[in-house]
Every structure is written in structure tokens, then in C-alpha cells.
Amino acid sequence: MTSTTDGTAATAGPPGIDPGTLHHPEGSVEVPTQLALYRQMVRMRKFETRAYDLFMENLVKGTSHLSLGQEAIAAAFGEAMEQQDYTFATYRGHAHTLARGTSMTGVMGELLGRTCGVLSGKGGSMHLTDVSHGVMGSYAIVGAHLTIALGAAWSAQYLGERRVAVAFFGDGTTNIGAFHEALNLAAVWKLPVVFVCENNMYMEYTPIRAVTAVANPAADRAAAYGLASILVDGNDADAMYLTARECLDRARDGGGPSLIEARTYRSSGHSRADPGKYRPDAEVAAWKGYDPIVIYRARLMGRGVGEADLDAIEETADGDVETATVSAKASPAPGADDLMRDVWSDGGWSWRN
């Protein structure tokens, strides 16, 4: 047992999940990579926490979906993917975008609707895209981007490139048609794509188990597409990283697609408007005791990493978030030029002569 920062006892594995059902990837993670994973998670946690504060100040408008508690998955793939690989994220995509190296100011600016945003304020929180870092978009209609990711994988296969497309999605996505269309076609065409289900136990406000015919919404469907069932501890950054490497390597070597179900928990509600009150207190508490950053910090210290080194990572992240916030607040709002730009690829919008 390790101890969390607020003194509650940490459990040995993800609450409520039989450890025997979990995928235990081979290999181990070296300390430099572990530090990189820790840095990634800390940056995401601090960014999302600040984003939440900025909603409360009404500086972030509309809606926003945070990855608090789910950082290990995004961090693991951020470290495991190669520069040329493609990320396809959902509306809960801040962490996945940051994971690929997109500037915090670019993401924060987009949330605030400023010109420094990665989309000049035209996409917002739910559509983060940064092609220069392989982030091929964040998609806000459930399911579609699984099919789009397979298209990017198809192009990589056709062009003979060693790229892999990775699509992240929630547990709720496993019940929409596009999920099944994408899995089937990706398997039939043996495409270099990794489908990553972040099962945080709730499809928006409804427990996923209440609306799904199988216990593991992604892993139990894998067999239908001739794929291995991979259920992994999504709060264990090492397990996630090794699983990511395994699936990325397989895809890159022509072994076809993978479907990963990562079990995790979102510490906050579905979106800005959701306090998450529908969740049992005991469940929330149990998962709070299995926080991916807390358990990872303890693990790193157990491997001899000094507390000062970990604190330095946290302080740097604090500084980065503060800089991004200040820069984004100082950036001007987009103007009329931006409004009418980029309907077409030549930058224009005209539909008539």
C-alpha cells in the first residue's frame, strides 16, 4: 500500500476490477521514460485544473471536457508514438493534444477564443487540431473519427509510410454504429491503426454497464473483429506505455489494428455543466485512491527518483501553465478576417460568381 498526498490509502489496482482480467504487457519502462511520462501527466493535470478555473471565471465559454484522472492514457501514447504518427482525439482532447507537443499557449488560447489559439478561435475546446504535431483533429460527434483514423491509416498503408493512426474515444462510443464499421473495415484491410477506448465508466451521465450488453464494452467486442481482447489498467502509466508500444509496433510492422480498453475514471463531471453527482461516493473515493499521478509519483520515488526532481517537474509545469494563461489572456480576439477565412482550401469562402 502506498499513501496518497491527502492521506487516503491507495489500492493495489483499479477499483472493482479483477486484476486477473488485465493485460500485463511484457518489458519494463526505464526511468528517463518514466520521468517523461510523469512530466506529461503533471502538465495535463495542471493545465486541466487551470482550464476549469478559467471556466469559473467565464473566460472559457461554451463547454469543455476535462481529462482529469485519465492522464496516464494520453501521456503513455504521447511518449510511445513516433513523430510521424497521427492522433485522432475526441472533444475530451486537451490532454491528447498536449501529449504530442502542441504548445500550451496554443491550446489555452483556443479555449479562450483568442488568435493565439491553434485554430485561431474557430474550433474551440472540442476541435483541437495541430497537424504540425500529428494531431489530426478532435472530433465532437461520437464515433466518426474512428472511421477517419482508419482512412489516415489506409493512406499510410497505401503510400508505404511507417505511420500509425491512433484514435482515442470513450466507452460510450462502443455502442454507436461507426465504432463497428471502423473496427470491421480496419481489420479486413489490416490497417495500421490503434483504437483506444478510455473506459471511464460513464457515457456522459449514464453508467456504461447500464446500457451495454457486455461487461467490458470494447474488450469484449474485440473478438467480433478477430482482434485480441486487451483490457489494461488505464491509470498505470507503465502498463499503458508498454501496451501502447506493443500495439504501435504491431501496426507499424504490418500486423494490423488493435483495440485497447483502458480502464480509468474521470475525477470531474462529463463536461463543464456536470458536477458528476450521479456517481456513488464510495466509487469516487476508491478511484481517488487510485489517482494515476499519485501512484506514479510513489512508484518513481520507490525507484530512487528524488523528491526534488519530481517537485521540479511540477514547478516547471506550474510555470508553463501560468505563462500560457498570461499569453492567452493577452492575445487579441479574432476578427472579421478570421470569420470568413478557410471555408475552402484556398482560404476563401465564396460560393458564387
Partner: protein, 325 residues
Amino acid sequence: MAELTYRDAVARAITQEMERDPKVVFLGEDVGGAGGVFKATVGLLERFGPERVRDTPISEQAILGAAMGAAMTGLRPIAEIMFADFFAVCWDLVANQIAKSSYMTAGQVSFPLVIRSGNGGGLRFGAQHSQSVENWAMAIPGLKVVAPSNPADVIGLFAAAVRDPDPVMFFEHKGLYSTKGEVPDGEIVDTLGSAKVLRSGADATIVALAAMVPRAVAAAEALAQRGIEAGVIDVRSLVPLDTQTILREVAATGRLFTVEENPRLCGWGAEIVSIVAEECFNYLDGPPLRITTPHIPLPSADALEDMAIPSTERIVTVIERAMKS
């Protein structure tokens, strides 16, 4: 110059573009081994192989998602949605994803892809396999919308669509597949957003699209016998829309008639009438009139379907009555 069917023009158009550019790939249901349910893609699999001509499962979302993902990463896909009615099961990809992503990403991604589909009625297929849905596409910013009326235009406009850097919805009319037309030899490349004046006439201007074009031409010939000289414009492309050609012709004749296969409400003709009303009202000698399918689903029985879709006779009757009143 050779006579070609509209159906064979499709295969020739795809062949022309796939031979020119190895990044052009083609996917859809039954498009390869079967040569297409309308036999419009016969021979392509044999010619280009299964890597470039890909048969898919019945998965319209996956077809369009694959095309979108491939287009944003370096390919120039052609996707077939067998019947245009099936857009209803994959409209998320068209309306929310493909059309909007260039704008939403401030131009970071573009989508050089063509979605071709069998559109329109007249084949007694009933309400779910006969619709003219070009208006659905026209209503969404970010899509180009093309609907050719003859074999030469099929090739020229298709080539322009494949070479265009933006997503193009290419509506082939099912009722025209067996029709024939003269097609020049060699490569044909046309221009999107250019309407064609097929016939000049001093008294009235008929604006038509796809299968309504030959009916409009036949109507104009019949009207000429009755002393009314009507010109005919083939719109060809709804987005971009060649308003200058339409405004010029209507200003010259003073009368506008649109002939639309779509159900009445929000048809493309309404947009043209609106533009004409706003921009050349003072040239009009009478109210613009829209000749459309009534606002009903299309029936199956031949007797009923023929009553619903504008016929040459109906076009003649409406225009003659309006011109003589």
C-alpha cells in the same frame, strides 16, 4: 469524337483521373468486382488493381471516413455512395466532418476528395432509392455540389472535381445512365461553377439541372413550335454557382423558370429565384416560376412517379400558360 453512354462516361472519367495521378484511389460497395450496381465502374478493378479500387462492406460511414482520413493525409480518394438516399446514414461524415474541418481548423487540413452517388428518380425504385438530394448538400457550407446532365459533362466535371482541392459531391443521375451523347476524344477537363447556355431564346429562360435538362430542352423545342422562344441553361454546378450566366440570360429575356426534380421546399431553384429577385428585379417582366416535384416522397408506381417529377409536357404547359397570361 465518339458516342458514349452517361454510364460509360463515368468509368472513362475515373480511368482518366486514376491514370493521371497514382494518389487517386476509389472505394465503395460493389464498385470493383461487380463493376458497380449501375455498371458505371466496369473494368476499373482489372485495370487498376485491388489496392486502388477497393470493395467495401455495407458501411457508408466507414467509406466516407476512410475517404476523409485519406484525403487529409495525402491521397485523392473517390468514394461511392451507391444511392444518394444512403447519405442519410452517413451524413455526419458529410455535414459535420468533411464540410467543416477546413474552417474549424483554420485551414490546417483540406479534403481533396470526390463523393459520387446515384441520385434522382424515374426508375420506379420508390421513396428510399429515388430522391434528389443535391439540396441537402447545397445547404452546407464547405461542400461543392455538381450534377452533370450528359456524358461529356460527366467526364469534364468529374475531372475538375478530382483535381479540385476541396470536397465535391458529384451527383450522377440514375435516370441518365443509359442516355448517350457525343464525347470528344482525349483528356477532358471542365470547370466547376460554370453554367452552360444550351439554347438561346428571347422570351424566357429555363434553368435546369441533371435529368431535368433534356426535358427542359425538349420543352423549349415544343414551345418554339408555339411561338415562344425559351432559352435553356444547364446549371451543372450548384456550388460554386454561376450566377452571372443566369442573371445575364434572365435580364435579357425578363422571365425565369426553374425546373427542379427535388421536392418543393428549399430546392436550389428557390435560391436562384431569390438571387434574381434581389439582383435583377427591374428586368423581370413577370414573376419567376418554379416547376418542381410536389412536396411529397416519391411514389413507386410508374403512373404516379411520372405525375410527380416534372415532365416535358408539364414544363411546356406551365411556361405557355405563364407567358400568355
